[in-house]
């Protein structure tokens, strides 16, 4: 399933499109707000669900080659974070839903812990 399909099915807002959403298929998902846990647990191509919205999430996603970050509970990324996302071609998505809800919905769509 492509990121584009996930965005429409879960009604996510696109904050930054790092790479064309139609061409990227997440290989799995990971949820945590602790960056080092993400460093340990998220694998290449995963979508990462978090309510952190500050600058450092971009570096984490870029270093791990994640397919997208979904920021939950309406947390607002600041302009510096957005600029960094554009510079590093990191896809940033945004929702009012909770992490729990988004993870459940992703799992239903077949985005599981790994593939």
């Amino acid at each position: 399933m492509t990121l584009q399909e996930i965005v429409s099915l879960l009604d996510l807002k696109i904050v930054n499109e790092g790479k064309s959403l139609e061409t990227i298929e997440p290989t799995g998902g990971y949820a945590s707000d602790l960056l080092s846990c993400v460093m340990a647990g998220a694998k290449q191509g995963f979508v990462w669900v978090t309510l952190q919205a500050h600058l450092n999430i971009i570096a984490v996603a870029a270093l791990l080659d994640l397919s997208a970050i979904i920021i939950t509970e309406g947390a607002q990324p600041d302009p510096v974070t957005l600029a960094k996302a554009q510079e590093q071609s990191v896809t940033l998505l945004w929702t009012e839903m909770t992490t729990y809800e988004i993870v459940g919905r992703l799992w239903e769509l077949g985005i599981t812990a790994s593939k």
Partner: protein
């Protein structure tokens, strides 16, 4: 043009940047079909059809006097005036751009003046080309493509570094100064090192392992040190050695610090998502050898080594020597 703040400058995409860097002359069409003002509209119809163009400059005695476009042609057809001369239907030229203008000038004119094409003049006012929105898009795409090729060339050159320089032992040393408490720069050094390794021909797995290990070391220097520190990366064809040093405050109990989940980070730092106590265990997972020495009050030295497998060595053709 207003000066833009650094903040705004960071938000500018590469395509926008190119619109300022590229000149109109680099995107325009220079083989222009010229139209005489006394030509009939029916002839313009034929010209546009045969040349697959949507408009042409109108020139009289070597001077640009207007532009005739497909919209003007439709207007003449609807009035049944295909036998009228061009001068009755053309748009008299009020705006043009110069060949040495930045591309953004043409983009602004398209937006503000609602025109589809602009005549391009040189320093002396002579018509040298025409530019359409399609030309702008094509110009930017070609330049982006060139960016990609340049990255490939950089990668190609860097990947030959270890082959081209003959010595008994070649080491490339990269040094990065890390500032204490500067969270905004967190991940910058590790991202730069990862890119450098990829350019040197490291496979993505090796670059990722180094990236993660260096990220954690970098964040530790930012969170915990009094005066920041230094990351030194020694790259050899068969091994990558990373040394992170600082001048304090030092670690009280190294064994405790190495335990997953143990952290001395403040509540404030944890709220940012740091201080999970996983940094050093993440590093251990990514490197083949780790040595941590620390003296409270003096400083800390963290050495990490990654040994490359035969198929990962940063030198493809020199294995037989």
């Amino acid at each position: 043009m207003d000066a833009i703040s650094e903040q705004e400058a960071k938000g500018i995409t590469r395509a926008e940047e190119l619109a300022y860097q590229l000149k109109v002359s680099q995107a325009m069409t220079s083989e222009v079909k010229l139209v005489d003002p006394d030509m009939k509209m029916a002839e313009v119809l034929e010209l546009l059809r045969l040349e697959h163009i949507s408009g042409s400059p109108v020139v009289e005695n070597g001077h640009l006097i207007g532009v005739i476009s497909i919209e003007d042609l439709i207007r003449s057809m609807s009035l049944g005036e295909l036998n009228s001369p061009v001068r009755n239907f053309m748009s008299p030229t009020v705006i043009s751009v110069r060949s040495y203008d930045p591309l953004v000038k043409a983009i602004e004119a398209f937006m503000v003046q609602k025109v589809g094409r602009l005549p391009v003049l040189d320093e002396t006012g002579k018509l040298v080309g025409i530019i359409t929105k399609g030309d702008v898009t094509r110009g930017v795409l070609v330049a982006l493509q060139r960016d990609i090729q340049e990255e490939e060339i950089r990668r190609y050159r860097a990947s030959h570094l270890f082959e081209d320089i003959i010595s008994d032992r070649t080491t490339l040393v990269l040094r990065y100064q890390i500032k204490a408490k500067d969270f905004n720069q967190g991940g910058t050094a590790s991202s730069n090192i990862k890119r450098a390794l990829l350019r040197l021909g490291a496979n993505t797995q090796v670059a990722r392992r180094c990236g993660i290990a260096i990220y954690e070391a970098e964040i530790n220097l930012i969170i915990h040190t009094s005066y920041g520190g230094m990351i030194r990366v020694e790259i050899e064809p068969q091994a990558i050695i990373i040394i992170a040093t600082d001048e304090g405050p030092g670690i009280e109990d190294i064994n405790l610090a190495l335990q997953p989940g143990f952290s001395t980070a403040t509540e404030e730092i944890r709220e940012l998502g740091f201080g999970a106590g996983m940094g050093l265990s993440n590093i251990m997972r990514c490197v083949d050898h780790l040595n941590l020495e620390s003296t409270p009050g003096q400083g800390t030295r963290l050495e990490m080594k990654i040994f490359l497998l035969p198929e990962e060595i940063l030198r493809q053709s020199a294995t037989q020597e």
